[in-house]
Subunit: 105 residues, 2 copies
DNA sequence: CACGTATATACGCCAGATCGTATGTTCGCG
DNA sequence: CGCGAACATACGATCTGGCGTATATACGTG
């Protein structure tokens, strides 16, 4: 699951809402339709994108499909974020060192 | 800077490359043009989107504009990720408790 | 098997995003 | 002031993505 695919999937507002909705508990397609206020085929298409990105899992329950979030792709996003966090911290450290040099307290 | 705007900005592959390029050091537009292999106006447009999302900062240096990344919007993304991480951890804990109940070691 | 329910797929449409080209605008320099 | 360099903006063409409607598929129930 490349990072680009993950970002593309969650950048769509409705998909982000769906992903948040299945974060804590699994939901059927019909429940998600009610939640996001869109027509069923649209929700199914968004779910397909989320599934392709590995962001959700499906479980068959009779004629319903219960969706639930997966964390694996978000872990790569977390790694990417970590690199930026580090870069930012390093910049703060350099700034601090610079200030210490000019005004050693 | 709403989360949606941040995601929309970094979901575009070229913008993600640009943001990574200005993560550790500042870069002029011309440098970025060489890096991403696109025509200058395109890079400027992407930079405008990143700037609107607060993901980059500009510094004038003569006739050049030096861009550098900012972390603030990514912090909100980090918060969002944290919620999903928590939900996932909670699920693991419940699974563990369930296994312990069936097979107490 | 017939029928309703739940979900997925096919299709056409349209708004928005991206790109390249052309054109401003600002700055440094002679 | 005139000219080139660096960058931004305007514009038109093209393509993609999301939407709704219509239809197919799978399942449960009688």
């Amino acid at each position: 699951m490349p990072l680009a695919q993950t970002l593309d999937a969650i950048a769509e507002p409705t998909r982000l809402r769906i992903l948040d909705a299945v974060r804590d508990e699994e939901r059927s397609v019909t429940e998600l339709v009610d939640l996001v206020g869109m027509h069923q085929p649209g929700v199914s298409r968004h779910l397909k994108v989320l599934r392709s990105a590995g962001l959700v899992d499906v479980r068959r329950d009779g004629q319903r499909r219960c969706y639930r979030s997966r964390f694996a792709p978000l872990h790569e996003l977390d790694d990417w974020l970590e690199q930026h966090r580090r870069a930012w911290d390093a910049r703060l450290d350099r700034l601090e060192a610079h200030l210490d040099r000019k005004d050693p307290s």
